[in-house]
Symmetry: D2
């Protein structure tokens, strides 16, 4: 029987085994568009700080799909109807939710293809796959775009307690070795419920939700916004910007990357996909390796810094870094290395970063009490300072070459 | 060589291996007073709710000693002087800090020996051991009683981040299977430092401390103050009270327990120790098993309830339970079972329970910044509502026989 | 709804959560006969060597039931029919398979009630429960006694890869901290299959089975037959034998234990159960604590040794310990302590212990190949020396008081 | 102080934290030659089968260095003298033992640079680094090449129980999620000892060594020689061979890879290093991505297969695959796709693979008994069939395009 062969099991260091739930999903995973995610690092260049963090978008997508299966089972066991078709659709939707990510996850968006956002690309990928798979992804797309009448299914894909977050927090914590960021996905999922067509948490899960929010914030400052991680990521962005700024046809780089650096890629999403689907981390890194031999001093220096991990220094501040402070630093570096005013901007620059662990305005996490009451975690918790948690914490970063 | 034989290694499911650091400590562990802790459950009757929680005071004391060794190493590596003698003394002090605990940890204190508190007993035990060991525990006792000039050593034994708490939170979380209560002892200890002769935490440990406080509170409400755990513990207390109230010389019970139920035990601590040191969980449980055959209906019923785990029902309330509500409940139960007014009090009663996760007035947790500043976690954290954390949360419990 | 309340979830440090699968099973767990298992240590006195090993028969029985649920699901997913009734029955059978165990698991069988074996008692308990539960355990009993036509169900309860072994190896490894004994129950169960009405293992599971056999043997020599563990267990047996040998009506001991030490217990299994069901570890330990005050020097000394963990020394030998060597040792001890010839036998004695990791004659572990072939692991493995594994390894132990 | 800044701590998901032990080692890790290992996958293309296995040579080298620190401490605590200089040297030697690895670990050796072996390259790298670091690596090189008088130090780097194996088995098991392959490094290391200037294992470690050998073999067949892993690796080799065979100057590929594909690289090791040190996985993968647009049908097809994970089918056999069977298969594929006789060889080919878990002839693992006896594990174990373990198991693989 053909089907049996396709019901494959994958090893996962976190969940043990991930079973692929249907033949259609197996075929989607086999598709080159999805296989491409094997070559895209989940956490960009974070591995330059946490040497275990090489996990990929591919693995995360499978993990989120696994958790979705668990969540669907729990909700069904609590009496909420979810049909076989809806179950497969919501698993497909979470599997493909990040398929639009480019090399190093966010690097291109912030540099050479500024208008292109991965969420819209993911939808475009799904539409093309839907054509190739004879409309079998239509329900998944309805749920993904929140047009399906059962809203709670969409919330499993996108909300403050969605399967995406649950998997990435747990997975990132696991691979970085920042064990304190670990999230008890099993327990959180076992507490999920549905009320008024929304995903809610059984009231006894209050401590688990608190723990989840604290872990999430810890991961932000300790991993996602770690100053050396940001230093690596912004160095990558500067390299790509410089390459674009000085682009000429004899710049050495992989063919598939050329239209993006040259700015000649298709602006229409639908036409962009086939070009975009050829890109991954290897092209960008191979380009940067070529550029360590570039005749352009700026491009060469930046590229060497990344390859040999001689990253920019970082100064973190709670205040905005003043124009004056920035100018002074640029002047100092210009003098030291003999850069022009235009060149120094690639080496000395500022960026703000903000994070709020919880957003109570928009789709808050509600606790479901035995009497049927729904109370926002912000009100229910006597421990967490939800006002503080909801207020974005902003930090300002100044990057510059180390002495 | 005699010494080599004594440097034993013990398996610990949590830390892997615990090495006994010196011959003196080996001999203390071998002493009947310490071996007695093998027969005292760390969490009283919590195992009636969490069936894995049978770990003992013995194991916890060894675990705390292990963590103490780690903490001392970290502090030494940061340049703080701790002599070989101080190291052994502080390990002895933590090893023996709970040696005064009685059967089921707290049951006797709340029932038949109300004036006797385990902290004072622990000190008394140490003094007697000190005599037996020719004064070799003097420094440990000085540190334990905070009379030694290096105060930070005392804080490793007793403060809001002491080795006692670190081990019991981690161990209780492990054995109950409440994995969310897990505390990253390794990381927290690696962040410890000393400033102004006080234990402080390096500033980058802020998220770890936040996580620790959240975990601690979670363990309180999910384990230590879990309503069914309390139901079992108070049932035990009621049994002991009843036995004391109706005591006569033909009440069946183990000989070693007799003076305590009869109220004839020595009131002088020093003379009490040899009597007290014979007691453990087995005596109390064996007595209760005998009492399931008692001719006293109250004692018999209560004992049967505990042995067969037919616990009292519990109602939890944020308000004080009114005299009227209590009377009504007692009346109802009297009518149902035909108890006298005096008898019903053993079955229907109220208790308040309070917990504050953090106490900023008294020996707060201070963060040490690179510029030398010390800031209380209450001020430093923008996330936790320290006002709320510091305010005791009080809950009121009404216990009564289930329908 | 009454039923919902009964579908309880228990925390398990190993599997996370154990859900109680039906109302009938919930009621069986609540029964005093089953609750008694909370007071019987799974590994007897092993905790005197591995201080974490206080887990109980109660917890193990629940764990084995949990694994049974997993195994049934796997087999059903591979197309083998198992009805809802069979599923519940096989879970009940494994839950109750050890309900006949006495205090400290095996101590009584080897001392004061020599003819009574726990397997037969377990069956007797089930029969009595079957009466109390209106025949609802009949199918479970049929499977347990291997009278049901689907033999593979019986093998899940009793064979070389049954759920009993899988749980106890994993659980004992976990609680002792002997992590090398860990068995990957999830993977082994996922490899189970049925052929010719027998439980077999899919051929690709060969390495997992090899690993299982190696782990099992490691647990035998490192835990179950650890010389200090045996020293404690045999000390307990000697104490009980001595108490029986010198029994008179004024020997202090708990009432429920009296008939067993006096030898007046009912020899008819059916009548024995109500007496036997009152016994647990607490009675035995409380008796031994009383006996530390006995006027009989032998009983007193042995009891003090156990309570204060001054265990007998052990000499291990591959050869039978000769009568002469034994006599010499007894003479030496007699001389040292002034024992009579009769008395010294309680302190100096020999025991053989044997273990074979795999038994290929009787219900071997068969591997199922894709072409349908069944091959015994003994033939299939090119690595393990199955001849050696199958041959019992016998070791001889000489116990004696330490200098 | 400059030094303090350099004593960095790295997160490791396996060991928790890895502390860099000295300033010299910090500087070696910072060197571009060592940073290059961040871009070389530890397990080549194994991630195409085990999606978690993206860990790098960089991380493994750090892990092995960490274990070396532990081993040195254990041996010192057992009374064996190891000076501070020797400790650093042996840590450097293990850190650099794999620095000569090329892209995807072994791919180049088997394809385009057949005479070049990574062990000799590692030594060459060390010599160059030794020059750059003013001779500070001389002792490390002496130990690495086994010219130092304390042979046991060399065995910690290279023997059947060296730190290399211990780390890679544990790390590969962790990242693949093949948990059964897990090796208890902590316990094994705690059992190490020195006798006659050789690394031996304390006799009570016999079960741990058995477990280690079984785990090792399990990892071989389940991971290292997994048929789909081999299929990916040999596809990569065929691609590189084809590129070399059809090389012309207009073949698109990264500049640094050109001399190797063209065969113009320096044959003198010393001159080769600077060229070779520029190569990593990214170059090879970027080249293969370019070649998916190649005009050569063979190169294009093979490259597409790898990128889109449409791997070759595999037939495993215990016998040598006959010339005739190979010819028949080639004929079939030629007919199906219209390949020439020369072309089909890239798609249909055979390879033998062998593994022996234990090699008793050469530097066996000896157990040290209390009486000083040394016995080879092959003699000491009554369980493992050492004859079988020592005999290489050979399997033959036939690769061919799937239907």
């Amino acid at each position: 029987m053909k089907q049996t062969n396709k019901l494959k099991i994958l090893n996962d260091p976190i969940y043990g085994f991930i079973t692929i739930p249907s033949e259609l999903i197996f075929d989607l995973i086999e598709h080159p568009y999805f296989q491409r995610l094997r070559r895209i690092s989940q956490l960009g260049l974070t591995y330059l700080v946490y040497p275990g963090a090489y996990h990929t978008r591919f693995h995360h997508a499978l993990g989120a799909m696994f958790l979705m299966g668990r969540a669907v089972n729990i909700l069904k066991s609590k009496g909420h109807e979810i049909t076989r078709e809806e179950e497969e659709a919501v698993q497909i939707a979470i599997l493909l939710h990040d398929i639009g990510h480019g090399p190093f996850s966010h690097a291109l968006e912030y540099s050479i293809v500024p208008g292109v956002v991965h969420e819209k690309l993911s939808l475009e990928f799904m539409k093309i796959l839907n054509e190739q798979f004879d409309g079998k992804l239509s329900l998944a797309i309805e749920i993904f775009t929140n047009k399906y009448h059962k809203q709670f299914l969409h919330q499993l894909i996108s909300s403050q307690l969605d399967m995406d977050r649950l998997d990435y927090l747990r997975r990132d914590s696991f691979y970085t070795g920042v064990t304190e960021g670990q999230v008890n996905t099993e327990r959180l999922i076992s507490m999920l419920n549905v009320a008024d067509d929304h995903i809610v948490v059984d009231s006894k899960g209050i401590y688990s939700v608190e723990k989840f929010l604290v872990s999430r914030r810890l991961m932000y400052w300790q991993v996602y916004l770690h100053k050396t991680v940001l230093s690596a990521e912004f160095l990558l962005i500067q390299i790509l910007k410089r390459a674009k700024d000085i682009y000429s046809s004899d710049l050495a780089l992989p063919a598939v990357l050329k239209p993006f650096v040259a700015g000649t890629f298709n602006k229409e999403y639908k036409d962009l996909i086939p070009q975009y689907a050829l890109l991954d981390d290897y092209d960008v890194m191979a380009a940067i390796k070529e550029w360590t031999f570039s005749s352009d001093r700026v491009l060469r220096s930046l590229s060497e810094m990344l390859i040999n991990r001689k990253l920019l220094g970082v100064k973190v501040s709670e205040e905005i870094i003043s124009e004056k402070a920035l100018s002074l630093k640029r002047k100092e570096i210009q003098d030291r290395f003999g850069f022009t005013e235009e060149e120094v901007k690639y080496f000395v620059f500022t960026e703000p970063m903000s994070n709020n662990a919880y957003n109570s305005n928009h789709d808050g996490i509600n606790l479901l009490y035995k009497n049927g009451d729904l109370i926002d975690i912000a009100q229910a918790s006597d421990q967490l300072n939800i006002t503080a948690l909801s207020k974005p914490v902003v930090k300002h970063f100044l990057f510059y070459p180390k002495p």
